[in-house]
């Protein structure tokens, strides 16, 4: 299998879907002539032209709303938010229009829209640019939320998202764009709603999504090397729909869970997972479910401090040791 970057995987997925279906359009700030602020759309404008790959003004509410309207008419817009943080100026359009229009119309309408972009801290861009709203978005029935951690998942899930007939919030991570990995060739599609065991283990389940999966894998490696603890790593991949069975199966096997989550803790995704596990696997648990989230403050700018604000392998290991 070819080894490519997460960025390239996304770019390939977009190109293949643009090629496959002329209803697909790519739209956002600087996605066309500039090739994307993070180069995810590199070369697409040149290849597919003005009609299919469209630069927008800085008007997130306006252009996301436009995407919703166009999707209601059957186009399949893939809208880039340069950062998911900027979703907050388009929040009404995402939640109320993309998220609710099917319900309010009694199912007469569907909205095959993808909203994508990076959603992460860790790049020292400060509090306003480091939001991770997957918890909020997944709170909304009507939206789907996907957070791939690897190049293969990025590609397979992006293709699934574009083909999905419901609105999908697709959350990438600037710190992952340069990560490399094997990606199957051909029309590689991963169903949304299926978690992935990124590492098997027997003593504790580390459950994560997005970049936190890599942090969990690093912790699992060290737990094995340094403490002879066998940690299983479950990558949620999709937040809504959620693959609860894989989570529960893992916990029923290991009897211990540490959740790793770059969200802020209060009502983060891991709060939902903790709530789920204690409810559905109560008797299987040998210890309380633990959470490792971003430290509960706005994202700090100072580079060495921000590195500590995100979940670290150290903090995961401490939590595992505390319940082992």
């Amino acid at each position: 299998m070819p080894v490519i970057t997460y960025r390239q995987a996304l770019n390939d997925a977009l190109a293949e879907e643009l090629e496959r279906d002329e209803k697909v359009i790519v739209m956002g700030e600087e996605v066309a002539e500039y090739n994307g602020a993070y180069k995810i759309t590199e070369g697409l404008w040149k290849r597919f032209g003005d009609k299919r790959v469209v630069d927008t003004p800085i008007s997130e509410a306006g252009f996301i709303g436009l995407g919703v309207g166009a999707a209601m008419m059957g186009l399949r817009p893939v809208m880039e938010l340069m950062f998911w943080s900027f979703a907050y100026v388009a929040y009404d359009q995402i939640i109320n229009n993309a998220g609710c229009v099917r319900y309010m119309s009694g199912g007469l309408i569907n909205c095959p829209l993808v909203i994508r972009g990076p959603s992460n801290g860790g790049t020292n861009v400060g509090a306003t640019h480091s939001h991770t709203p997957e918890n909020f978005l997944a709170n909304t029935p009507g939206l789907k939320v996907v957070c791939p951690a690897t190049p293969a998942d990025a590609k397979g899930l992006m293709k699934a998202a574009i083909r999905d007939n419901d609105p999908v919030c697709f959350m990438e991570n600037t710190l992952l764009y340069g990560e490399q990995g094997e990606v199957p060739e051909g029309d590689y599609v991963i169903p949304i709603g299926v978690a992935d065991l990124k590492r098997e283990g027997t003593d504790v389940s580390l459950i994560a999504h997005g970049r936190a999966v890599l942090t969990a894998l690093a912790a699992a490696h060290r737990l094995h090397e340094e403490f002879n603890i066998s940690a299983e790593v479950v990558d949620l991949r999709s937040i809504r729909p959620l693959d609860e069975e894989t989570i529960l199966a893992s916990v029923r096997k290991t009897h211990r869970a540490v959740l790793v989550d770059e969200n802020k803790p209060f009502c983060g995704v891991s709060a939902q997972i903790a709530s789920l596990i204690q409810e559905r696997a109560f008797d299987d648990l040998d210890a309380p479910v633990q959470r490792v989230c971003s430290l509960d403050a706005p994202a700090i700018y100072s580079p060495p401090l921000e590195a500590l604000q995100l979940p670290t392998a150290d903090r995961i290991i401490q939590k595992v040791l505390a319940i082992s």
């Binding site: 359009i25 009609k51 927008t56 003004p57 008007s59 509410a61 306006g62 252009f63 996301i64 709303g65 436009l66 995407g67 919703v68 309207g69 166009a70 999707a71 209601m72 008419m73 059957g74 186009l75 009404d92 359009q93 109320n96 229009n97 229009v101 099917r102 319900y103 309010m104 119309s105 009694g106 199912g107 007469l108 309408i109 569907n110 095959p112 029935p141 009507g142 789907k144 699934a160 083909r163 999905d164 007939n165 419901d166 169903p191 949304i192 709603g193 299926v194 999709s238 809504r240 729909p241 959620l242 693959d243 609860e244 939902q272």
Partner: protein, 366 residues
């Protein structure tokens, strides 16, 4: 602080232009003209019936009546061809009936019945009929404005000669997303027509207390290099003539237009508006009813044109009343949705039982 509008009645003198002579009006048949009367009366009778039933507690939530503004929906929507679409805000009954929705499905929706146009899930603010090019019915002020843009964008993308009539209120013009939409519409040559239904109030706030302007609200279009016009909404001919001009601009040049149509609502902001007669005087309301009622004025016009008499009017009105009564009965007789219906119409993939609708858990109750 609020301006008493009744002191400044709209110009009633002879129109500088007789819009009856405009091309789009000159060829109208008697049947068409009577049809507009019927369409306006359908709206009024439907709403009068719904008001009564709302007061009887048959409905929940809000009921925003369109009564007084009927000429706007009818005058514009009747111009729509195959590829012309329409979207509006929560005051949507007029537009819904205008595109030809049945009173049955609309009334049942107000009752929250499973036979409603939105299966009882949307209510008064959320009527939809995509098969009739009607995209709702939207409750968040100005939230529909970029959707209208997107609909028009999709038409252009597909090479269709169409447009999207996108309605908003005079209070909605101060929401940012509307301005973002104006810029995009002009920048990208999108065939969208924004229509401000200026009924002078947003809830209890007069236009003067909500919008800083030079001349009129539509003039803001200048800053985006968009063509605009103001329209006397009580004159169906004028509404048609000016809207048609905008539609041609959309069809032929893919350029947007901003129209501001003066109109008036007789009832409160919603039926629950306890202040309906506080922020404007009963005299003001009465003045409009007496002098500016669009149905009365149209009726008068048709009489002047010699194509309507008392009997003709009665026939049309009776039909509207009967349709409304039938709809009430239909709504009464219809079942409510079932408990499990709460979970349908959320995800297309789930509703259709596709593979994508079956992987992972979609809903988080037990």
């Amino acid at each position: 602080m609020s301006v008493t509008r009744a002191e400044k009645p709209k110009k009633t003198g002879p129109h500088p232009v007789d819009y009856a002579k405009a091309a789009i009006n000159a060829d109208l048949t008697t049947k068409q003209k009577l049809g507009f009367l019927a369409d306006m009366l359908r709206i009024r009778r439907f709403e009068q019936a719904s008001l009564k039933l709302y007061q009887q507690g048959k409905m929940g939530g809000f009921l925003h009546l369109y009564i007084g503004q009927e000429s706007v929906a009818v005058g514009t929507i009747a111009l729509m061809g195959e590829h012309d679409h329409v979207i509006t805000a929560y005051r949507d009954h007029g537009h819904a009936l205008g595109v030809g929705m049945s009173m049955n499905e609309c009334m049942a929706e107000l009752f929250g019945k499973a036979t409603g146009c939105s299966k009882g899930k949307g209510g008064s603010m959320h009527f939809f009929a995509p098969d009739k090019n009607f995209w709702g019915g939207h409750g968040i002020v100005a939230g529909q404005t970029p959707l209208g843009l997107g609909i028009a964008y999709a038409l252009k993308y597909q090479g269709l000669k169409g447009c999207c009539l996108t309605f908003l209120g005079d209070g909605a013009v101060n929401q940012g997303v509307y301005h973002e939409s104006l810029n995009l519409a002009s920048l990208w040559d999108i065939p969208v027509i924004y229509i401000i239904e200026n009924n002078q109030y947003s809830m209890g706030t007069s236009q003067a207390r909500s919008s800083a302007i030079k001349g009129c609200l539509a003039e803001r279009a200048e800053g985006y290099n968009i063509d605009w016009d103001t329209v006397n909404g009580e004159d169906l001919y004028e509404v048609r003539a000016k809207t048609w001009e905008a539609m041609q601009r959309a069809h032929e040049k893919c350029r947007p237009t901003l129209l501001e149509i003066d109109t008036y609502r007789y009832y409160g902001h919603s039926v629950a508006d306890a202040n309906a007669k506080k922020y404007r005087s009963p005299e003001e309301i009465e003045f409009y009813k007496q002098n500016h009622d669009p149905i009365t004025l149209w009726e008068k016009r048709l009489r002047e044109e010699g194509i309507l008499d008392d009997a003709g009017l009665k026939t049309i009105d009776d039909a509207a009343k009967k349709e409304a009564a039938t709809a009430v009965q239909f709504a009464e007789d219809s079942p409510f949705p079932e408990l499990e219906d709460i979970y349908s119409d959320i995800y297309y993939e789930v509703d259709l039982g596709t593979e994508a609708g079956q992987t992972g858990r979609h809903f988080f109750n037990d």
